[in-house]
Amino acid sequence: MVAAEVFLTFILVLSIFLGFELINKVPATLHTPLMSGANAISGITLVGAISLAGTGNQDLSNWLGAGAVALATINVVGGYLVTDRMLAMFKKKEG
């Protein structure tokens, strides 16, 4: 059994390389939507925050978690919506 730290680090390293490969191919014209879309993805912290905000304990950890849920949700909802709004405007020349 591999230790959890090694396993997580393994995932990290592979993901970084994958990220480089994926993003390198994005053309300059899409850099702004790419950035706001990536920003929405970084709201993934929400997933971590949810379990911390739902412990049912009325302690500091719970309040911090709830705050993180709100902030990360702004990131997720706002990020995806604004990216979609931008991408809807990109049109190819007709005819």
């Binding site: 995932i11 993805i41 971590g48 993180a68 702004i74």
Partner: protein, 450 residues
């Protein structure tokens, strides 16, 4: 159940990757964003099914509050204000990671977990205040110039030492909260200190970098709460931000450390004597030249965003095409205040994306262009970058508008650009200056045509 949740995370990670891949082409980008948001939905639902959750009340309140704010902001923001919007969102992401790291702290955590907790607090804190300062500069709520003072490097070094010391002590004595608070406070201060010396024109680099940090913070938080999907998604964002940062630095021919530490355009620029004289032109005369032109290139910059001129620019380009001219747009990678800023504005104005050419595409054909219209751009068309070795921007790749037969420069006044560098383009024989608000000048040209 737990295995099921973990598999849902795997699916969600795959959706993120596939979504980002589709973001690579304008034709599929919108679908890519949808796929990526589906991945997020899967991950959130899976997280909500976690058996460790006893009380949903605060989760729901958080999601509703965040969803309303995020949704409203996304709907109302103007396209010209995208850079500050992204900066703000970056900051929230950073703060969320800081809070998650903090909340994940428990007295019997292993050292490895403690290290990742302090990392997520540190990166999250720097991202938060750094983004807030970037937001302030971009929205011009605070001065957008570089703030430099004597001993800045010393102060920054002390802060870094303080953070390192605090972090080490925190890992040794996690029960003593003083170290935790020290690191939180210093990280927040460091975010401010890191962004204030960076001037307005370098903002594309800073925004990309903060974007990367927000991903890395999520990554660190993923280690802290032992969650794969945070690590995968955070690493993807981190990598994307780093690539954009690299592209921006390359487009300015500067190293990252030069951007971060030198306080560009802060008065140390040497003035070189520029020969020639400024030749202004009226809207009417400009119209006669444009009417005879068969090939026109439009080079927009941040000034077009400030003047909200993208819609009249589109109108003008349609009229020119109707008049038989071939119209293209030349976009410099660092035009505007964030990567791709100009592309979004022109897309908003319905300019088809295949009409927008990158610098490397438009430069070879510049000599065949009859009229190059420079709208609110300055440094990115400065021939000094090519010709004058003493210029602070020497070596930066620029759009060679001076090689066109005629150049119109739309400019408010003769004040120099954000970087404060003299631009010899304005004095060239083939350059005509069209002074005034860009929107009004172009509106005038549109009226002449119709």
């Amino acid at each position: 159940m737990d295995t099921l949740i973990q598999f849902a995370y795997v699916a969600s990670g795959a959706l993120f990757i596939f979504g980002l891949k589709q973001l690579g082409s304008p034709a599929t980008a919108r679908r890519g964003n949808m796929i990526s948001s589906l991945g997020m939905l899967v991950a959130v639902v899976a997280a909500l099914l976690d058996q460790g959750i006893i009380d949903y009340q605060w989760i729901l309140i958080g999601i509703v509050v965040g969803g309303v704010i995020g949704g409203a902001a996304a709907r109302m923001v103007q396209m010209t204000a995208m850079p500050e919007m992204v900066a703000l969102f970056n900051g929230f992401g950073g703060m969320a990671s800081l809070l998650v790291g903090w909340a994940a702290l428990n007295p019997d955590a292993a050292t490895f977990t403690l290290v990742t907790i302090i990392l997520s607090i540190l990166i999250g804190g720097v991202t938060f205040t750094g983004s807030m300062i970037a937001y302030g500069k971009l929205s011009e709520k605070i001065g957008s110039g570089a703030v430099l003072f004597n001993g800045q490097q010393v102060v920054n070094s002390l802060i870094v030492l303080g953070i390192l010391g605090g972090a080490v002590m925190f890992c040794l004595e996690p029960a003593n909260h003083m170290w935790l608070y020290l690191v939180i406070a210093l990280s927040l201060v460091f975010g401010v200190m890191a962004v204030i010396p960076i001037g307005g024109a370098d903002m594309p680099v800073v925004i990309s970098l903060l974007n990367s940090y927000s991903g890395l913070a999520a990554c660190a938080a993923g280690f802290a709460v032992n969650n794969n999907i945070l690590i995968v998604a955070g690493a993807l964002v981190g990598a994307s931000g780093i690539i954009l940062t690299q592209i921006m630095c390359k487009a300015m021919n500067r190293s990252l450390s030069n951007v971060l530490f030198s306080g560009f355009g802060s008065g140390k620029t040497e003035t070189t004597a520029v020969e020639g004289e400024i030749k202004p032109i009226t809207v009417e005369d400009a119209y006669y030249v444009l009417e005879a032109a068969s090939s026109v290139a439009i080079i927009p910059g941040y000034g077009m965003a400030v003047a909200q001129a993208q819609h009249v620019v589109k109108e003008l380009s349609v009229l020119l095409e109707r008049n038989g001219a071939e119209v293209s747009f030349g976009i410099h990678p660092v035009a505007g205040r964030m990567p791709g800023h100009m592309n979004v504005l022109l897309a908003e104005a319905d300019v088809p994306y295949d009409q927008l050419l990158e610098m490397d595409e438009i430069n070879p054909r510049m000599e065949t262009v009859d009229v190059a219209i420079v709208i609110g751009a300055n440094d990115v068309v400065n021939p000094a970058a090519r010709e004058n070795e003493g210029s602070p921007i020497y070596g930066m790749p620029v759009i060679n508008v001076d090689q066109a037969r005629t150049v119109f420069v739309l400019k408010r006044s003769m004040a120099s650009g954000f970087a404060g560098i003299e631009n010899p383009l304005f004095y060239k024989d083939n350059t005509r200056m069209l002074f005034g608000d860009a929107k009004e000048s172009i509106g005038g040209l549109v009226r002449e045509f119709s």
